[in-house]
Symmetry: C2
Subunit: 113 residues, 2 copies
DNA sequence: CAGATACTTAACCAATCGGTAAGGTAATGC
DNA sequence: GCATTACCTTACCGATTGGTTAAGTATCTG
């Protein structure tokens, strides 16, 4: 099982072809051959991308006969969005301090809300 | 400079050491040496990470004398969060279709709520 | 000026990535 | 049975990563 890491999830979407795969799958599941045609690359290339996407917990592959159906995993971006949002909010909370820092040297005491 | 790509931004945070740098900087700017001490790696390693972070538009480096102050760029995660949120919402719109698809295949795990 | 400090650059290394082509396996169809 | 289809695997390639050490440059500091 997974123990999907933020590293793997972020790396999975750090590639335009892979984001195209995700966007394509957002409209519904697709076969490997479909994805290859959609991306205009070879099938083995798609397979490598799928490996990375599966590794990042974004998609699943279900084999039915000789056709593999690739589907998105809903909620798999939550961790990433949560991290980004949390970090961003943290900045917002410290923006005053930041502004002060940019103009003069401040002594950051540990008065965390 | 710009034309910060989603690729670069996502790749920038697809690394635990780099996320540690970002989280560290969220509490205020820091020097390169500070970051190296914080990460327990060599200074050149930090510089390479900073290159990637700058490339992803997440941080800036300002040299003052012989000290480089590294700061976060507020809002630099917006694009990424927006993409993730948009894609995720798109899924939600199609969740009925997805649910139907998943229901047509029994889940073999016994932990059914 | 001499030396320490802060950063940069260069060279090197093992590992991974993204793509290819070629060959292998299993299911489907005539 | 035989050919086709769909996917997987392997092997190879150039490029990039992430880390190191070592040497170089610029700025304080005593």
């Amino acid at each position: 099982m997974p123990a999907i890491s933020l590293d793997a999830t972020a790396a999975a979407i750090a590639s335009e072809p892979r984001r195209r795969i995700v966007e394509r799958l957002a409209t519904g599941p697709a076969s490997v051959t479909d994805l290859a045609a959609h991306l205009s690359v070879s099938v083995p290339a798609v397979l490598k991308h799928l490996d990375r996407l599966v590794d990042g917990g974004l998609v699943t592959r279900v084999k039915d006969g000789r056709v593999v159906t690739v589907s998105l995993v809903p909620g798999s971006l939550e961790m990433l969005v949560e991290w980004a949002t949390r970090t961003r909010l943290f900045w917002a909370n410290h923006l005053d301090r930041y502004a002060a820092h940019l103009h003069s040297q401040a002594s950051p005491d540990g008065s965390t809300p």
